[in-house]
Assembly symmetry: C2
Homo-oligomer: 210 residues x 2
């Protein structure tokens, strides 16, 4: 069996982490760099990843996560946020980064910038948030894959109170909105969920050939 | 450098595929199985992956993709669809699969089914579509990671006409909605984009420690 399939079968939404086990700085560097490399629509990277290190803060967050203790007990807690109302400023930043990285004159890429601005200006605030929120899910998909490859456990979570998270973490929600949580670390040997068979539809149900 | 980081640096949104190069059945099996294993909210897997094999159909689709020829020239074209209006039927299917897979009596898991039904019944049709649409993006994130690991090129695409896709592919949009395209295969050596430096924000910009 290919390692990818072994990894994805190995992973599961961890219910209980072993709080004594910490991710090594080397592995965490790989995770961070893999998040930095996540692709996004137009390459705009409308994302911010908040790493919550303070144990005190994480205990505060537990009550805004309906008591799910993974946010406290996991080695690291990542809060994936997306840009709330992306606009001209973000496009300008990207275009500048593009020009710098590829050693181009700003004039050579400004047409692309104008095109992006035009596209974005046609979207309502709600449409922009929804669009950028989806980019957070691409990051989640890659993060879970990276973690499984490194045999690091993870719990993808949509269920939390984003307003309370913003307050506790001091996030300016006009700039960024908390979308997803992903506590990562190592499963507790007492977490019975790890022994349950993975439930998935069969290939014949989810694939269709045309 | 860890293989994951090498892989993610190697990948790029391919502009031109070499249409003479085909993904081996062995690699495509890994891709399919990895898509089957993609996690989803409540484990409901509200996704359908359409593999468009017919070259004739793919040429038809090009005009519904604003002439982006990757849908024709790539080795394989995957259309990621999500459930349009998930409801009790889908929950019952999942609960039945759960009971069968884990060798449980239906009664033992029916409470969980009722909980899911309750949650879903509170959502508007629009909210349900938006929720399931996000699950498609998790699949995209994992797919791009899997492909990069196998050194298979891919082009994630949001820009296409979903109505025309549904018509051409005969998708009943009351059941499934086309959300994302991902042509996969091998880059053409003449695709100049492959030589461009990857543009990403620095870690100091996208990470924040609390």
């Amino acid at each position: 069996m290919h390692k990818i399939i072994q990894d994805l079968n190995w992973r599961y939404a961890t219910k209980k982490f072993d709080s004594s086990k910490k991710i090594s700085p080397e592995d965490f560097d790989i995770i961070k760099e893999s998040l930095r490399l996540v692709p996004s629509s137009y390459g705009l990277q409308p994302l911010k990843f908040i790493i919550v290190e303070s144990q005190y803060t994480r205990e505060d967050l537990a009550s805004a996560t309906y008591g799910q203790l993974q946010v406290v007990e996991a080695s690291h807690l990542i809060v994936i946020c997306c840009a709330t109302n992306i606009g001209e400023k973000e496009v300008d930043c990207h275009i500048e980064n593009l020009a710098n990285t590829r050693d181009l004159a700003l004039e050579e890429v400004s047409g692309y910038g104008r095109f992006m601005k035009q596209t974005i200006s046609k979207m309502s605030a709600e449409e922009k948030l929804s669009w950028n929120c989806k980019q957070a899910y691409i990051a989640l998909g890659q993060l879970l894959h990276t973690c499984a490859n490194l045999r690091i456990d993870a719990t993808p979570m949509e269920g939390f109170d984003p307003k309370a998270y913003a307050e506790i973490l001091g996030i300016n929600t006009e700039e960024y909105s908390p979308i997803l949580l992903c506590p990562i670390g190592y499963r507790d040997e007492e977490d019975a969920t790890q022994h349950l068979k993975k439930v998935r539809k069969s290939q014949s149900v989810i694939f269709e050939v045309k």
